[in-house]
Symmetry: C2
Subunit: 194 residues, 2 copies
Amino acid sequence: MKKRLGPSDRLYPMPCPLVVGGTAGESDLLAVAWIGIAAGTPPSVSMALRDSRRTLELIRESGEFTVNIPPVSMAPEVDYCGITSGRTTDKWAATGLTPEPGAVVATPIVAECPYNMECRVTAMHDIGHYTLVVGEVVETHADEHVLDESGEKVDVGLLDPLVYIAGSREYRGLGPVVAQAFSVGRTVGPEVAE
Amino acid sequence: MKKRLGPSDRLYPMPCPLVVGGTAGESDLLAVAWIGIAAGTPPSVSMALRDSRRTLELIRESGEFTVNIPPVSMAPEVDYCGITSGRTTDKWAATGLTPEPGAVVATPIVAECPYNMECRVTAMHDIGHYTLVVGEVVETHADEHVLDESGEKVDVGLLDPLVYIAGSREYRGLGPVVAQAFSVGRTVGPEVAE
């Protein structure tokens, strides 16, 4: 039996990256669970930022941002960056996280996050009190210790990315592999194209 | 030491809902990992659909869609809906999943998915070969067996949502709770507003 819960902004689960706006001279970062891939060609992300956010102002000024995936062990620092404001707090100093120059954009990446995406804004859309920022991913970085044996691909077990659960406001880790995609479905029905 | 991996559409982790387009008369569904919350007021989602998708055509026609969160046990059916086309296959018949009338929109929800979001399209943006569909969430539903003791909120442990990992193409479940959000960060630094 289903129960109606009303309109809601809860999707399960969500990632929980640290998003940085600004430049080497001034930057700010915050935790953004409202983010997803927005296209594959070119690779793009979209994310919802509340209009009052200092990081959004910095992104508007420079037209660039970075998305940095934290490991589970970084939950306290991520949470701190979500519940404080860059208007009153230097979050880099408070958390001890390190801004590191990216390769393509002027916005720093977070050195302690083992996977980083450099992005250039391609569109912004106002939705209520939020701005949906769309950005093209122009470069990614991974720490060598989270790469698989090929040295070219992320091993998500080594990455150990933080996961966010809305509503119950939980941080979680990933559970075990339950099936391979583009594979397990072939047992279900007919007409699967090769 | 960080290694440059080039532009990429991999974000860790991703949800993996079934998205339905169409009406009671004709509908199609597919697996969409490229989805995220796009605003809080009004609650909105954004998702990237390849332009060739039959489900996208149906969403354009009716201006509505539903997002349905599958449990881990549904990985084979979700994968099947991702690797087949609604142009040649009746995915409902092939998977045995059941279209159930929603409460607000004409697009069916997936009865076997314990959490469902009904959405109305508010914007569409072309990005390369993809369309970023933005929709307002006008209603949500949850099976009573995934609600917590209040009967009003989802217990994500009971929901057991499927998680998608790009690159390694893995389906996973959620791991254990590692910290409480809006709480664990208070130990990190100064100036946390109450």
